[in-house]
């Protein structure tokens, strides 16, 4: 059994059945408050919607979001499936991790792939990051939403990630085309969420809205949540491209002239499609070391993701078109 499988198995055992033992885990005051807020949000959605789903992207934010869902309904299982939008260009370890988790926890994970576009040869290096994201991510997400008729979808976005997210509600209304109208958001008062929608409309729900990147890491540490090993430093083959360290995760990545993969000690702060996700050089091989590194970090998280750099305000534009 691989170490991923072992970790995930031990994790799943924590949620199997009503243990009746006294509480043994401590949680820092601010994380306890954030956790309770998120659990409250997740339960509201489960209670008020007919076809909720949790968008699960395998990253650390998704790991925390799923953990919160497991806690919210313990000792029962979360009463909704997980949905992964797979561009087929994810890191191999991510897929191994995803499948192990679904199996051990006994949860349904639905995987959406835009097979049509893959067959036409859409990929990040020829199509460019914008088109790649639009077709393999945004379009696939929309078709998953339509096919399964989800009326509510949890996403792991945080308000500290990006400027337009800083302004988004926790319950974010989407019209029947999945579009977001930033100028006409519903007021959101107290902890009282309006969950009413018409047929065909949906709500995106962001239970991690008020968490920061540091909160996420601290929570993973204090709660012992398994994450994809790529977050920890290891020797990996990378090439330097446009100032970013790109990992050669499989042999599909076409190497440009003069590029030879080099083994470097790197880790990832965020995980997406491997050709679009920059690694950072680091020796942090444990969660503790990651957090220490974070405490002195000077570069914000999403800069490791190429899609945000295309133009100012790019995220808002993507969201209006239905990007998560």
């Amino acid at each position: 059994m691989s170490s991923i499988q072992e970790n995930v198995k031990a994790y799943a055992a924590r949620f199997a059945g009503d243990s009746k033992k006294p509480a043994d885990r401590k949680l820092s005051a601010h994380l306890k408050a954030l956790e309770a807020e998120s659990i409250h949000i997740i339960r509201e959605v489960a209670a008020e919607f007919e076809r909720p789903v949790m968008l699960y992207s395998i990253g650390k934010d998704s790991a925390v979001m799923l953990h919160l869902a497991l806690k919210a309904f313990y000792p029962a299982k979360p009463p909704f499936p997980l949905q992964h939008v797979d561009t087929t260009f994810k890191f191999g370890d991510m897929i191994t991790f995803r499948d192990a988790l679904a199996e051990e926890l006994g949860l349904e994970i639905r995987v959406e792939i835009n097979e049509d576009a893959i067959a036409r040869g859409v990929n990040p290096w020829d199509s460019g990051s914008q088109l790649h994201t639009q077709i393999l991510k945004t379009e696939a997400l929309r078709s998953a939403m339509n096919r399964h008729k989800y009326d509510a979808a949890f996403g792991g976005a945080r308000r500290d990630e990006e400027k337009s997210r800083a302004k988004e509600r926790i319950f974010s209304f989407r019209d029947s085309n999945h579009g977001w109208d930033p100028k006409n958001q519903r007021p959101e008062l107290w902890r009282n969420y309006n969950t009413k929608i018409k047929k065909g409309e949906s709500i995106r729900v962001f239970p991690l809205s008020n968490w920061t990147e540091l909160d996420i890491w601290q929570y993973i540490l204090e709660q012992d949540i398994p994450i994809v090993p790529l977050y920890l430093a290891g020797h990996r083959p990378v090439v330097e491209r446009d100032g970013q360290l790109i990992m050669v995760d499989d042999d599909r990545l076409p190497l440009k002239e003069g590029e030879t993969p080099e083994l470097k000690m790197v880790r990832f702060r965020t995980l997406g499609c491997y050709p679009l996700t920059g690694a950072i050089e680091s020796t942090a091989q444990s969660l503790e070391e990651i957090v220490l590194e974070m405490l002195t970090a000077r570069t914000s998280e999403r800069s490791g993701r190429l899609i945000d750099h295309d133009e100012a305000g790019s995220m808002e534009k993507k969201k209006r078109e239905g990007y998560f």
Binding site: F15, K20, K21, P22, A23, D24, R25, L27, S28, A29, H30, L31, K32, A33, A36, H40, R43, A46, A47, L70, K71, A72, F73, Y74, P75, A76, K77, R159, D160, K163, A166, K167, R169, K183, Q185, R186, P187, E188, L189, W190, R191, N192, N194, K196, N210, T212, L214, Q218, L221, E222, S286, E288, E289, L295, R298, T299, S300, A312, E316, K317
Partner: protein
């Protein structure tokens, strides 16, 4: 160093920042008072800006900035494209920073009156409001408005940030003058504390560092104040309340009630009651995925297991047996209206309080508040951003506390039943009477008995359509045919209602709503009497027709849409009303200067341009026969 020791060290370092939990505060002020500059300054000084964010900031400062060659902190915050271009702030933005003592969530809210609802959104989850004043301008109407909204949404602490002191010679006299002026109005609102601080956001004076230029200021800097404010003690002494969100029942051996404790605390063994039903039990376990707890307090999301099975579902409030919330279907509340369409007394909205949702109407609008002067004014409606004191009536009794005592069980939102928009926010002041559900006198003769005798199923046939569509004509034939068949009927229409019961009502939107409400109630009584009732009223609004539908039982309401196009009605113009309306002699005429909202899913649609009145009536009768309503 072994792993455990390293982990302890890291957690120690992390909780060091955040040991006091999170403080949520709101900043508000009118445009250009320096709100964005202030928050940008807090982020900058607490070294929370990352390198790449700084680069973008410098680039944007050159492009759109207003601070000359210096960094324009305001650009850090205006997230939406339109806002960046127009330099305005239309929605709340949330920002995060931390110091060694505490973590902070800042809600940066817009100042314009038209965005009041966005400010209310930010205020509703904040513990403190930082109200900015430009020292040169002093207290403005906006200042008082923002203060009022802060208090209304439940904020108990105010910081009066008198900004741009550098442009007012850092004058102590000017500062005191502004503070005195402010307190004249704000004192009456009953805040727990008001803390004035003179500052200059642009240069950082008294934001995070003490000001040399204003050494006369002996109070705290803004950051010192925010770091030291003690909130914990406030929550704990309140009575235990937990609205049930979810009944957790994975198997026959486990039944738990999940929710967030919104007030007070609960321990294993405590006696609790279901507020609405009065059923009692004791807490036998407090379950979390990390293990069972002995005690849980306000702000915890838990699952309670009780020592006996009692009927509990989502929407119920679990409460301390000694200090119970009120339970009533009538109460007085302050309401902030947030929709383009006016609030209309009598119209049915959905009211969501805690985890319970129920239809509700505003029965009376007692007065409105001029939010700029705090004056009470009589009014019959409430427009966007208006604030009014109202009596509210709900379809089912709800459990609540006065808002001033418990924020979560004292507040509700109102949702429009057709657009689904959040149209109002309400703060409950006090209950008006005990719930009447227990006192309904049981009658020996029931609706079923009455209709059995008549050999029919009571039905409310609701004819809606434009003036001149043919509602009364068709209804009249229907009633005649039913009577000929030996069935028991009654009919309500404009003539027999407008002249008596509703003599006092005119044709404004508000009066139309009340008109239909009363007719609905009368129709309900006739249905209770076991009759087949025809009602012919234009009834232009979907919400009111829906309200009537909900007054009677399933299947008893039959909506008949007499679908005649406007031009046909105008051509017919039997009573000459369209002519008069076009000549301006009648105001608010449906179809002309007052809207008609077509039914979306009527039970029957009559196309009178294709059918004769006789044929239309037959269509109605066969519908009734098919549904088994005619015995």
């Amino acid at each position: 160093m072994n792993i455990q020791a390293k982990r302890d060290e890291v957690i120690e370092r992390l909780t060091h920042s955040g040991g006091r939990g999170v403080l949520r505060f709101l900043t508000c002020g009118s445009v250009d008072d320096g709100k964005s500059t202030l928050i940008g300054r807090l982020l900058y000084d607490s070294k929370l800006l990352f390198e790449d964010q700084l680069n973008v900031l410098e680039r944007d400062s050159r492009k759109h900035g207003t601070a000359g060659d210096e960094i324009d902190f305001a650009l850090l915050l205006d997230g939406l494209e339109a806002e960046r271009e127009q330099g305005i702030t239309i929605d709340v933005a949330y920002r995060f920073f931390a110091t060694e003592k505490r973590k902070f969530v800042v809600a940066d809210t817009p100042g314009h009156e038209q965005y009041t609802r966005n400010m209310a959104t930010g205020a509703s989850t904040a513990d403190v409001a930082v109200i900015l004043i430009d020292a040169r301008k002093g207290v403005l109407v906006q200042t008082l408005r923002h203060t009022y909204i802060a208090r209304m949404m439940g904020i108990r602490h105010i910081v009066l940030a008198v900004n741009k002191m550098d442009l007012a010679d850092n004058s102590r006299g000017r500062f005191h003058e502004i503070v005195a002026e402010y307190l004249k109005s704000a004192d009456a609102l009953g805040f727990e504390s008001i803390t004035p601080i003179p500052m200059s956001a642009r240069f950082g004076d008294n934001v995070t560092c003490r000001s040399e230029a204003m050494s006369w200021h002996t109070g705290p800097t803004l950051l010192e104040y925010l770091e030291d404010l003690d909130l914990d003690t406030e929550l704990r002494s309140e009575p235990f309340r937990m609205p049930v969100q979810w009944v957790n029942r994975p198997n026959l051996n486990f039944r738990g009630y999940s929710g967030m404790i919104v007030s007070g605390k609960v321990s294993v063994g405590d006696a609790i009651v279901v507020a609405q039903s009065g059923l009692a039990a004791n807490v036998s376990r407090i379950v979390t995925a990390d293990g069972d707890l002995e005690t849980a307090t306000a702000g915890d999301a838990v699952t309670l297991v009780l020592n006996q099975e009692i009927d509990i579902s989502r929407g119920d409030v679990l409460a301390s047996a000694e200090q119970r919330p009120e339970v009533s279907d009538q109460f007085a509340a302050e309401i902030l209206w947030m929709a383009n369409d006016d609030l209309l007394p009598g119209r049915s909205y959905l009211l969501k309080i805690g985890t319970a949702t129920t239809p509700a109407t505003i029965t009376t609008l007692k007065h409105r508040v001029d939010i700029n002067t705090y004056e009470k004014q009589p009014s019959r409606k409430l427009e966007m951003n208006g604030i009014g004191f109202c009596n509210v009536s709900t379809a089912r009794p709800i459990a609540f506390d006065p808002f001033r005592e418990v924020r979560d069980t004292g507040s509700f939102i109102l949702i429009d039943r057709f657009t689904n928009q959040t149209v109002g926010g309400g703060m409950i002041e006090f209950g008006l009477r005990r719930a009447s559900n227990i006192h309904t006198q049981a009658m020996d003769v029931s609706k079923e008995r009455r209709s059995q005798i008549k050999g029919q199923k009571p039905t409310l046939l609701w004819f809606t359509g434009l003036s001149g569509a043919g509602k009364s004509t068709v209804a009249n034939i229907v009633e005649r045919k039913l009577a000929e068949a030996g069935l028991h009927t009654y009919s309500l229409d404009g003539d027999n209602v407008r002249h008596g019961l509703n003599r006092d009502l005119g044709f404004t939107d508000g009066d139309r709503v009340e008109n239909i409400r009363r007719i609905g109630e009368v129709g309900k009584l006739f249905v209770d009497a076991g009759l087949l009732v025809t009602c012919s009223f234009i009834s232009p609004f979907r919400s009111e027709r829906r309200m009537v539908r909900e007054l009677v039982d399933d299947g008893e309401f039959v909506e008949v849409f007499v679908d005649t196009p406007l031009d046909v009605c105008m051509q017919r113009d039997v009573k000459g009303l369209y002519k008069k309306a076009q000549a301006g002699e009648i105001k608010n005429f449906t179809g002309l200067d007052s809207p008609y909202e077509e039914p979306e899913a009527p039970e029957i649609r009559l196309d009178t341009s294709k059918l004769s009145a006789e044929e239309a009536a037959d269509q109605v009768i066969s519908h009734l026969r098919e549904r088994g309503r005619l015995g």
